[in-house]
């Protein structure tokens, strides 16, 4: 499987969860485990560009696929990815434990809806639990991320109505 652009061997142990494999075999500890039963969304990663729960998937199932974890969004010395930047600007994180999962869910959301309506924002983040923020700042961060994200579709539809910053 390819993880953040680098080819890796899948683990020999067939029952190894993808979340454990990423964290403990590959050292990508930015993927967090909050419930291990697929509800909290902390372990969200992108599989071929779409958000999935890495705690509900065996690592061997990811063979032949491309996984993006939070570490793969922006190179260590590069500026933050627009979604990360938006979470920073809008105080969209406190303890930071749920944050990688939220950020990747929002990346997935904005891929689908570059200019989401408030309902699409709520829907897009409604698979992730946060116990610190009360979500208000995360909603603001999603809207801000849409502004910061260069979109090929900008100039069409709702995006064209946005005032220039």
């Amino acid at each position: 499987m390819k993880v953040n652009g680098v080819m890796h061997q899948a683990p020999a142990d067939p029952r190894r969860l993808l979340s454990d494999h990423l964290r403990h075999d590959l050292g990508l500890t930015g993927t967090h485990v909050g419930c291990e039963h697929g509800v909290c969304g902390c372990c969200t990663v992108l599989l071929d560009g779409a958000p999935i729960r890495s705690c509900l998937m065996l690592a061997v199932q990811a063979e032949g696929h491309e996984v993006t974890t939070i570490e793969g969004l922006a190179a260590p010395d590069a500026p933050l990815h627009p979604v990360q930047q938006a979470f920073h600007e809008c105080h969209g994180l406190q303890c930071g434990f749920c944050t990688p999962g939220f950020v990747l869910s929002v990346v997935g959301l904005l891929n689908q809806h570059p200019n989401p309506t408030p309902e699409q924002v709520d829907e897009g983040i409604s698979g992730n639990l946060c116990r610190c923020t009360g979500y208000a700042s995360i909603r603001r961060a999603v809207t801000r991320a849409a502004e910061l994200t260069p979109s090929p579709r900008r100039g069409e539809g709702r995006g064209a109505e946005r005032p220039k910053k």
């Binding site: 190894r16 930015g30 967090h32 509800v39 933050l80 990360q84 983040i125 409604s126």
Partner: protein, 775 residues
């Protein structure tokens, strides 16, 4: 001190690494550690007849399996953290149960293996023969004492406490109106997104124990480990790295794993780690909030409260490791922002066969607020008066501070409100709430509240200017997301006249700062924040004295601005703070970075020894702040809700908060605390119910069935601040961590009551419960 940073919406310095996935949580640490798993009781109350670990020990990959008899401290009761004279029958569990288990989830055996998968396989092979005993599960059942949770605790009563201000009996007898209410609040669970975790390493060559723990109090863990393992404190380091939310339960210590993991690491000579899974978190981590109140209130025709009697039972759970702090706080906080001239409160802290209780964000206060606000709504209903008007007539006025309530507070002192403006909070909340939305089944709720914050005994801080001019600061108490690294940098930056980006804060690492108490009770900003100001102020004074020699000026004429110490009025006459840091350390050997300026052949401005009597090298200082009493924050929440009359779905149409935590260090951070607290309050009031059955089984121990709100359940929250500085600390600040959660139950109960026209006397609510209540 200039105030460039204090009060500003400074963006957080901790965000970058957390956003890049470079946070450092306890389970992120491995370093060749063995992994472990706890065998826990599936019974709420049972005698252990035998434990057989032979099959588990024989499994390939298992390194050790421990039961109580394997532990040198196996027969030691864990400490009662906060002893109290009224806690006459305090009981704590042992690290591993060997005779009786008293709640589902109580630890029985500890398995250490090459990896977690094997440890869990081995745990399945541990054979425990239990003889079930009668189960006591609600506080009401416990108070009847048909069965006992502990032999030797008559009536299941751990503690009883009675306090009276004035003469309640006489005042009730004379009151023109009287009303009785029975109010019930169920348990809740804090549920931080990161469960608990511990990692430990013993170095034989250095004789050093290093423990990473997702705790709210590393200094206390360190002290306890040293005592229990017979080590000098100076040989034990405890670090709370990034902690994924705390909300109270991580202030509890010792959970069994906090002893077992270091013990196994010492015994086995290899690092050992343990990470809780979500299912065990539901039963093994402390909960809170279960109380039943019997209230009698006497009042006059205008709605003035003349006397209040509250007799309540508090659900301790199976043990009382945290003492009776929770019911003490409830007893102290029932009157809230109101005058209660005659107040009598009695509580009994009763054992049940459920997970022990200790503070969860709000800690005794949401239930206290619920009791008083439900009582005032009942008075208004009885007299046909406006609910807000009844509150106005009973509020303590700004002229009445300091206001002595006459009852005991959690720090051993009496409750004395230091400052506040409660009427202004209520009026501003009403203004923000605006006109009532149109439509049927709409209700309004409003609740002011107070919160005792910033309890002692003390916190400390160390601040040092490095020769690079950068500043490092450290305090003992850890962060669980409250932006300590940012807000303390703001305080230090102002004192030293540097950029906030040049201050690096470490918190919760005993290697950097070994003294302190912990992060709880909305106390961090008050205690550690003021300690930071004290320490940084000492550094600034020292810098002025050293620079004064160089600049041939009086220290009193100097100021610290933009990273320099300079003469007031002559800003060109100055010296960089980095150079002052060099000069603060007279040296023989230069090591680059401009340090040659402090060597012995460089002319010195004054005669005598390089370090004068009483001077210490380094541009650094350690300072402490120990408050005389708690600071009392306050606020007012108000909301409009609509209840769907067919589905009983809750819709929060508007929710407003006016908050007063004294001077705000960083409004962005405070608003984040409030928004998160309100969300937790909404969850606790309407979605999250711990469904224990009569056998003591928690039937919904998963996020599938314990319904923590998602974004779809939480409305936008409008926030405003007023600032009445606390007179009790130099920075004038009060705590803010728990405020958001306190009045939410009271507000929603009042609003739902009005929307549906049925009395609400319990928490939590749910669509099903509202359906039942309206039948």
């Amino acid at each position: 001190m200039t105030t460039r940073w204090f009060g500003a919406r400074v963006q957080r310095v901790e965000d970058d690494r957390l956003l890049r996935g470079k946070g450092h949580f306890t389970d992120d640490i491995h370093e060749g550690a063995l992994e472990s798993y706890l065998v826990r009781s599936p019974f709420a109350h049972a005698r252990i007849k035998s434990i057989d670990v032979s099959a588990a020990r024989a499994l390939t990959g298992v390194v050790a399996v421990y039961v109580a008899s394997d532990l040198p401290f196996g027969e030691t009761d864990l400490p009662i953290l906060i002893p109290h004279p009224n806690l006459t029958h305090g009981r704590t569990q042992r690290c591993l149960a060997s005779h009786v288990v008293r709640y589902v989830g109580e630890a029985v055996a500890f398995v250490v293996a090459e990896n977690r998968y094997i440890a869990e396989d081995a745990a399945d092979l541990v054979e425990v023969d239990y003889e079930p005993l009668p189960v006591v599960i609600t506080p009401e059942v416990s108070a009847k004492a048909q069965h006992l949770v502990h032999d030797g605790v008559p009536g299941n009563v751990a503690a009883e406490m009675l306090q009276e201000v004035g003469d309640v009996k006489a005042a009730l007898a004379k009151a023109p109106h009287r009303k009785q209410l029975r109010l019930r609040f169920e348990r809740g669970a804090a549920s931080p997104m990161e469960g608990r975790a511990v990692w430990a390493r013993w170095s034989e060559s250095e004789h050093r124990l290093t423990v990473y723990d997702s705790t709210q109090s590393p200094t206390s863990i360190r002290g306890g480990l040293a005592v229990l393992f017979g080590l000098p404190e100076s040989d034990v380091d405890v670090i709370a790295p990034d902690v994924g939310g705390g909300f109270g339960p991580k202030i509890m210590l010792f959970y069994p794993d906090e002893l077992l993991v270091p013990f196994a690491a010492m015994r086995l000579g290899r690092p050992v780690k343990w990470t809780e899974d979500r299912q065990e978190h539901f039963t093994a981590v402390n909960q809170e909030r279960g109380q039943v109140h019997e209230v009698e209130v006497g009042f006059d025709k205008d709605g003035h409260v003349l006397a209040l009697s509250d007799d309540f039972i508090h659900d301790a759970g199976a043990y009382t490791p945290y003492g009776i702090i929770l019911p003490i706080i409830t007893a102290a906080q029932v009157p809230g922002p109101y005058r209660v001239p005659n107040y009598r409160v009695r509580f009994r802290d009763v054992y049940t066969n459920a997970t022990p209780t200790s503070p969860y964000r709000g800690a005794g206060r949401p239930h206290a607020c619920f009791v008083m606000e439900r009582t005032l709504d009942a008075i208004a209903a009885e007299l046909g008066l406006d609910r807000v008007e009844v509150r106005r007539r009973n509020l303590i006025q700004p002229s009445e501070f300091p206001y002595d309530l006459g009852v005991a507070w959690q720090d051993g002192n009496r409750v004395v409100y230091d400052s506040g403006n409660y009427p202004a909070l209520v009026e501003r909340a009403l203004e923000m709430l605006g006109p009532r939305p149109a439509g049927d089944h709409v209700g309004m709720g409003l609740s002011p509240y107070v919160e005792g914050t910033g309890v002692g005994p003390y916190e400390g801080a160390h601040v040092q200017v490095l020769v690079s001019g950068k500043v490092v600061a450290a305090t003992g108490i850890p962060s669980q997301g409250q932006a300590h690294a940012t807000v303390w940098a703001q305080i230090v930056a102002d004192e030293l006249g540097v950029d906030v980006a040049d201050v690096e804060v470490t918190s919760g690492d005993t290697r950097k700062f070994q003294w302190g108490v912990g992060t709880f009770a909305s106390r961090g900003a008050v205690t550690a924040g003021n300690a930071m100001a004290v320490a940084a102020g000492m550094v600034a004074e020292k810098a002025k004295h050293i620079a004064a020699d160089q600049l041939e000026a009086n220290p009193a004429d100097l100021e610290l601005v933009d990273g320099r110490v300079r003469v007031k009025g002559s800003p060109e006459r100055g010296i960089p703070l980095a150079a002052v840091a060099v000069l603060a350390n007279p040296m023989r050997y230069a090591f680059g970075g401009g340090t040659e300026a402090a060597t012995q052949f460089t002319p010195r401005p004054r005669p005598g020894p390089p370090l004068a009597d009483g001077e210490q090298p380094g541009l650094e200082a350690t300072g402490y702040f120990s408050p005389t009493g708690s600071t009392w924050a306050a606020g007012c929440h108000a909301a409009y809700v609509r209840i769907d009359p067919k589905t009983f779905r809750l819709e929060i149409l508007k929710y407003v908060v006016v908050h007063d935590c004294g001077r705000l260090i960083n409004p962005m951070v405070v608003e984040g605390q409030i928004e998160g607290g309100v969300a937790q309050g909404i969850g606790g009031a309407f979605y999250e119910r711990l469904a224990y059955d009569s056998d003591g089984q928690l039937r919904n121990a998963s996020f599938m069935e314990f319904l923590m709100p998602y974004a779809t359940e939480i409305p936008p929250i409008e926030i405003d601040h007023i600032e009445t500085p606390s007179p009790l600390n130099p920075l004038g600040i009060k705590g803010a961590g728990e405020a958001g959660v306190i009045p939410v139950g009271a507000v929603l109960a009042a609003a739902v009551e009005e929307a549906l026209g049925v009395p609400i006397t319990e928490m939590p609510l749910s669509p099903l419960r509202l359906f039942e209540l309206t039948r």
